[in-house]
Amino acid sequence: MLFEIIYGFAFITVAFAVSMFFVKKLLHAAVLLALVSIGSAIMFALTGSALVGIFQLLVFVGGLSTYFIVAFGSEPREERMSFKKELARLALFALSFIAIAGAIAYGFAKAPANSTTTAAQAQGNFISSLTAMFNSDYMLLYVVLLLLVAVATGSIIIAKKVVKLVV
């Protein structure tokens, strides 16, 4: 029963993700992005990672989606296309979606079988090196600071241009 519920939520989440690219207003796209985040958080909770699900809700729905909804609330997305063009775009999108999802799923399915290393060896090599890298007491601080510096630098460069335009 749990299995069907998980796949049901997965289907609904992917449907929200795909419909995000076919709505006319950016506000609706932002709301659908929030629904995708809620769906993924529910998936985490159902697969036994409830804490990750809570953080996903806090970060994506509470923070980012609210930010997007407030910022893009009044912006129209693009001019309407004719029905034929819309249909052609939908068909191309569906073809591309199926091809890319199939390629990724094929990679997931085939990669361990073709690999000469077992899962335990992979854990020993890759994960232990990752653990050693991330397990430092100051690693989180470094990552957050690096990202903040990058964002602050970019924002300052762009803000200078905006100020020049306005003033």
Binding site: A17, L26, F44, F60, F97, I104, A119, L130
Partner: protein
């Protein structure tokens, strides 16, 4: 459970890549990038559940890094949006030329 999370991760990544290919609006493309980051988080959680010992902090660090990247991308999106709006420019990427400095 691993396969369910991998399947949804693959589907979300495919939707995001297709969105980047077929969207012409700058903000919609940034939403697609956000979708790809969500798919990365889903795949990371499935691998952390399967391969990483829960007593280590590696999984949490990886997820926090991904959330930080998503937040940074959102800030960059809204900043660029404000910049483009201030210039009164078109949000269609095929008509985008304002990033010339």
């Amino acid at each position: 459970m691993l396969s369910a999370l991998l399947a949804i991760g693959a589907a979300l990544a495919a939707a995001g890549i297709s969105g980047i290919i077929f969207s012409r609006n700058f903000v919609a493309i940034m939403f697609a990038v956000e979708l790809i980051i969500i798919s990365g988080i889903v795949i990371a959680v499935s691998f952390i559940n399967s391969f990483i010992n829960a007593s280590t902090a590696a999984g949490a660090m990886l997820l926090i890094s991904l959330w930080a990247i998503a937040a940074a991308e959102a800030i960059a999106t809204v900043t660029l949006y404000a910049f483009m709006k201030a210039r009164g420019s078109n949000f269609r990427v095929d008509k985008l030329n304002l990033l010339k400095w």
